[in-house]
Structures are given as structure tokens and as C-alpha cells.
């Protein structure tokens, strides 16, 4: 079943065509591996994000696509053309830099026209396309200002227009919203999404903000220590993380380290470090998990139910006490200390009128399918 799905995906990929391909790409800086054997296929018209903590090699990956870095080994392809010998100024990509890198001695207009003029476009064509780009980012009235006279959000738009006006095959975005404050960030996220739909180009965005990646992307590659941990849709990444790192990095989760005690095609019995017996869902059903192998169990805070009585015959039900409460407006974060000493975080909608006190016995429980067993 899952295999069929993969095949299907593969077929779709060839239909849509690939814009960017990385094949076993390595990049070494001063004897340190920033990127360690990455394979990536980015489809035409896709909004693809590379997500990871700082120093995971995501920006290096983007720079490898842009051509600012050359791979130590492996191959970068854009529309099936090898780019290894192609300098950045001949690649059909344009970049929006985190710092915007606008030319401060030129007006907004000249900044946007820069690429077109270099490509020896006629005056009328430049005029028309710059105007069009300004309109696209709603900056028509600022055409004759200098970058220093603009706010951060406006500079961001100019940087976008300057890249998009060249109609690149792929638009690369390096933490494009990193320098903006929260409210502006949300606004620009929305606009980026609309822009992507309007221009229909392939967008590759690097970000450390998982929420940003989740809300904008068609697919996400999660990176850590120079390697790709998982590639998938936001839903796949969140609901079916493949590794403990992904489970922990994307959203909140409760992780338990444990040992497999027994298994069944669709179930795993695991004993955690502190002796809790849990029933878990193996990563890929049907595939036998290693008996008495080490696993990490991941349970999302919103999948845990809280009750005053132990549920009868229910697996994964543990007694505990309320330790800490955090109000997040729409939700409440509760930390429950289990009798074993483990703490679990639980997310509850803010509908509970009264919270139990610290001495009331409480029972935290979760379903087998919400308890994912990840191999270490």
C-alpha cells in the first residue's frame, strides 16, 4: 500500500518535471562537512522549504543551488542541466537574501531594473517589466526612493521584486522573513503564498521557523547536521515523523526512550527507561521492528487526554499530578508529572473552567496510533 503510494508519487514527479535536483551533494568547509550527501528533487512550481536549526547546512544547500558555493562532491542540476560548471551569474535562479542586499546607491527602480539592464533588455521592455514587478509587490509609489528610506517590510518587497522581475526558473529565498517583526512576518507570509500562486514559479525557501515552513510549503525537507532527516508534505512531517529529531523539531512532542519488548504487525510493546509499559505504532506497519531494539516514542501534546479516572482496559494510561500550567490564550499547556517521574506536556483547548490542584490524581492517556515508535 505504502509502496504503491511512493510509486505514484514518483510518477507524478516525472510528469511535473524537476526544476532542481541535488545528487549526493557534499560540501566541506575547512575540513568540516557542512552538507553531507544530500539528495533532493524539487518539482516545477513547487513551494519547497528547507527547514532546520541554525548550523544544519540549510543555507549552504541554498547557496549550492544559487552557485555561490560549489559542491565538494556530487552534482547540482537545474532543469536537468548540470550546474557544477556554471557560475552564479549564468544560472537561471534568483535569490532573495536574508539581509536583502539591496544596492543602497540606487533607487528602488534601478535596483529592480539591474538584472534586466545587464541582460541588455530594451528600454521599453525594462520599463514595462519593472513597472509590472513594482505592481506585483505593491511598491509603485516608492519607485524613486532609496532603500534606506524604506521600512524593513518595504525593503523585503523590493528584494522580492528585484529577483522576480528576471523571471527565474527557481526563486531562492534565504530566511526571507527573518528580519521582520512578528506581525509583519505573518502579513508577508500571506503575501509570499499569494505571490507564489500568481507567478507560478518554483520557490525554494530556507527557514528555521517551522510554522513558516508548515504554512507556506508544499513540501518540506527537514535538515540536521548536514543531512536530510525527512522530506514530505507538512502533514506527513507532522503526523508521521521518521526520526526523533523531526518529531522534536516540528511542533511540540513528548519523547520517551525505550526498549522493544514484543511486537505484532501493527503494534509494538515498549518499556521506557523509567519502566512505563506503552503500546506504540511502528513507523511502517508490516515492517518488523527490531525486537529488543532501542526506540524513541513520540506523543504529541494535543493527542493526550486528561481525566480524573483511569479509563478501563485502555492502554497507555498513566497516573500523575499537575505540575505546571501555562496559558497560551486559545490553549493551555499543562505539564503532568507521572508517578514514574517522567513529565508529559499536554495541550488542552482553553475550555476547562477549573483546573485540578496539585494533589488531585489525574490520568493521562493516549491511543496506540498516536504513540509513534521511531528508531534511533
Amino acid at each position: 500500500m505504502s509502496q504503491a503510494a511512493t510509486q505514484n508519487q514518483g510518477a507524478m514527479a516525472t510528469d511535473a518535471g524537476l526544476d532542481v535536483e541535488l545528487r549526493k551533494v557534499f560540501k566541506e568547509f575547512n575540513r568540516e562537512m557542512a552538507v553531507q550527501g544530500i539528495d533532493l528533487s524539487i518539482r516545477r512550481g513547487e513551494f519547497f522549504s528547507i527547514l532546520g536549526p541554525s548550523g544544519c547546512g540549510k543555507t549552504t544547500t541554498l547557496r549550492l543551488i544559487a552557485g555561490f558555493e560549489l559542491p565538494s562532491a556530487g552534482e547540482v542540476l537545474i532543469q536537468n542541466q548540470s550546474m557544477n560548471q556554471v557560475p552564479p551569474y549564468r544560472r537561471p535562479v534568483n535569490t532573495v537574501f536574508q539581509s536583502y542586499a539591496l544596492f543602497s546607491h540606487m533607487t528602488v527602480w534601478d535596483n529592480i531594473a539591474f538584472g534586466l539592464r545587464l541582460k541588455k533588455q530594451g528600454k521599453a521592455a525594462v520599463q514595462e517589466r519593472v513597472q509590472e514587478a513594482l505592481k506585483l509587490v505593491k511598491m509603485e509609489t516608492f519607485a524613486h526612493r532609496y532603500p534606506a528610506q524604506l521600512s524593513g517590510g518595504q525593503q523585503q518587497r523590493v528584494a522580492l521584486a528585484r529577483a522576480l522581475v528576471n523571471r527565474p526558473t527557481v526563486l531562492l529565498l534565504d530566511e526571507p522573513l527573518g528580519a521582520l517583526d512578528l506581525k509583519l512576518r505573518k502579513e508577508m507570509q500571506m503575501e509570499l503564498s499569494i505571490l507564489h500562486r500568481e507567478v507560478g514559479l518554483t520557490f525554494v525557501m530556507v527557514t528555521h521557523d517551522q510554522e513558516e515552513a508548515m504554512s507556506l510549503s508544499d513540501r518540506i525537507a527537514v535538515m540536521n547536521h548536514g543531512k536530510i532527516e525527512q522530506i514530505g508534505s507538512p502533514k506527513q512531517i507532522y503526523d508521521r515523523p521518521q526520526t526523533p529529531f523531526v518529531a522534536d523539531f516540528i511542533g511540540d512532542t513528548n519523547l520517551f526512550r525505550g526498549k522493544v519488548e514484543g511486537f505484532h504487525p501493527a503494534k509494538l510493546w515498549v518499556v521506557t527507561e523509567h519502566g512505563l509499559k506503552m503500546t506504540a505504532q511502528p513507523l511502517e506497519s508490516g515492517k518488523s521492528a527490531p525486537v529488543s531494539g532501542q526506540v524513541v516514542l513520540s506523543i504529541r501534546p494535543e493527542k493526550i487526554r486528561l481525566s480524573y479516572r483511569p479509563s478501563e482496559g485502555q492502554v497507555n494510561c498513566f497516573e500523575g499530578r499537575l505540575k505546571n500550567v501555562m496559558y497560551l490564550g486559545t490553549h493551555i499547556h499543562c505539564v503532568i508529572e507521572l508517578l514514574s517521574g517522567d513529565c508529559v506536556t499536554i495541550m488542552q483547548p482553553n475550555t476547562v473552567a477549573k483546573l485540578p490542584n496539585a494533589d488531585t490524581p489525574l490520568y493521562a492517556s493516549w491511543a496506540t496510533e498516536d504513540c509513534l515508535a521511531l528508531t534511533v
Binding site: P88, F103, L118, R145, R162, N166
Partner: protein, 270 residues
């Protein structure tokens, strides 16, 4: 009235007093010099009446004009050479990594702290060892040594504050490395290059020590000419010349500052 007096008294703070003293210390000699340049008496410090004659006199003095021409020539050529090499040096040091970079970086700014007399003597010894005859060219060569360091240090301080991705952005938009240097980096650095050149120009015009060691006989720069004359006592026409020099350098500095501020205002939109 009393109220006004108290207000006046209060407004003289110790900071104002300090500034006043400092300005007096620094600029009073210049004021005295200016006043004496209009003094009719050719010898004494006694004021005997107002005259323009000293100004007229030095403008008719062929040796001073020749020395001025030499100075301008030396400073102009030395600064032009330094502007090109100094800018390239600063950019190279900021943008590229190569073995021995650290060493080069520390050595390249040494002329700023080495005493002029050492540069003067060592250049002289070096030139003589190579049997190179002394004339204006040798002064230019010696001046390039320190002018280069000044241009490079001013340009690199600007480079540090510049977005490191500017050239990448230019290349990303289709500019070759040479185009991105000429179209983006150079204009962004221009204010720093100009102010570095101005600084170097003033220092070159001002230099007496290095020039007198490295120039051949018959090639006097303005400071050398002035110095040779005041050995026989300060003449009022030298006073007048000094006033003109102060005015010219003051005005050119003001002009450069005005141009820079204007450019900045245009960019920051105030």
C-alpha cells in the same frame, strides 16, 4: 535684568568652559597667524597697520609657486596611485582568503605607526643602494607608502559595514565578477575612497620630513620651501601663505563633507 544675568551665568556650564579652552588652545595660534599676515611691519610683532601686500608678494614669488606646483603634483600622483591600489588592497583583504593574509594585513597598516623619520631614512638608504637618482618621482614613491595605508584603512572600515552579500546579489542578477565590482561595490565604496584620498592628499601636502629626505636638489615641495625660509626668521609673506593653505584645506574639507552629507541625506531621506 537680574534675572537675565542669572540666566546668563547659569548657561556657562563647565562643559562650555572646557570647550572654549580647548578651542582657544587649538585655534588661537591660527588666529594670531592670520592677524599677523595683515600686519604692515615686516619684522616685529608690533602692529603697524593693515596691508594686503604680503599676499600679493607671495603670489608673485616664483619659487613659492613652483614649490606649490611640485607639492600638488606629488600629492596628486601619490593619491591617484594609492586610491587604486589601496581600494583593491582593502577589497582583496576583506573578500579573499589566502595564505599569509593575517601577516599581510598587519604589515600593510604599519606605515601608519612607523615614525616618518624611519620611513624617510629607510627610503633614502634603499634608493641609494639601488643607485636611483632623487627627484619628484622618488617623493611620490615614498608618499605612496603611507597614502596607500590611509586609503586602505578608510576603505576597509567602510567594507566592514557593507552587506557581505552585495556582490553575490549582483552576480545573482547576472553581473560578472568584474561588472559587480564596477556597478555595485565601487559606487558603494566611493564615499570612503573619496574621504581616504582627501586625508592622504592633505597628509602628502603637509609632509616635510619624508619629502626632504627623498627629493633631489632643486625639487622643493611647499613645506620644504617654507621650512627653508623660516630658518632665517618668520617672514610675513609666509604667514600669508599659511593662511591661504589653511583656507584651501578647510574649504576642500568642507566641500567633501558637504558632498558626502548630501549623498547620505539623499539615501536616508531626511
Amino acid at each position: 535684568m537680574e534675572n537675565l544675568q542669572r540666566k546668563f551665568k547659569l548657561s556657562i556650564s563647565w562643559q562650555a568652559l572646557f570647550s572654549l579652552l580647548m578651542y582657544g588652545f587649538m585655534y588661537l595660534p591660527l588666529v594670531v597667524l592670520t592677524v599677523y599676515s595683515f600686519n604692515r611691519s615686516p619684522f616685529s610683532a608690533k602692529w603697524t597697520g593693515f596691508t594686503w601686500s604680503w599676499y600679493i608678494k607671495f603670489f608673485q614669488d616664483g619659487r613659492i609657486l613652483l614649490a606649490l606646483q611640485n607639492s600638488l603634483l606629488v600629492a596628486g600622483i601619490a593619491v591617484a596611485i594609492s586610491a587604486v591600489i589601496g581600494t583593491l588592497m582593502a577589497v582583496g583583504l576583506a573578500r579573499y582568503n589566502f595564505p599569509g593574509k593575517q601577516l599581510y594585513q598587519s604589515i600593510s597598516y604599519l606605515p601608519l605607526i612607523i615614525p616618518d623619520i624611519s620611513i624617510a631614512v629607510s627610503t633614502l638608504v634603499f634608493l641609494q643602494a639601488l643607485w636611483i637618482g632623487l627627484d619628484l618621482k622618488t617623493i611620490v614613491a615614498a608618499h605612496v607608502v603611507f597614502c596607500l595605508a590611509y586609503v586602505a584603512i578608510v576603505v576597509s572600515s567602510r567594507l566592514v559595514n557593507l552587506d557581505p552579500h552585495l556582490e553575490e546579489a549582483a552576480q545573482d542578477l547576472g553581473a560578472s565578477p568584474v561588472q559587480s565590482f564596477i556597478l555595485v561595490l565601487l559606487p558603494e565604496l566611493m564615499p570612503a575612497i573619496v574621504s581616504g584620498c582627501l586625508l592622504a592628499f592633505i597628509l602628502s601636502m603637509d609632509d616635510l620630513l619624508i619629502a626632504s629626505f627623498t627629493s633631489g636638489s632643486g625639487y622643493n615641495t611647499l613645506p620644504m620651501e617654507i621650512f627653508s625660509r623660516i630658518r632665517t626668521g618668520v617672514k610675513p609673506d609666509i604667514n600669508a601663505l599659511s593662511v591661504v593653505l589653511i583656507l584651501v584645506s578647510g574649504l576642500s574639507f568642507a566641500l567633501a563633507e558637504y558632498v558626502r552629507l548630501n549623498a547620505e541625506r539623499k539615501r536616508s531621506g531626511q
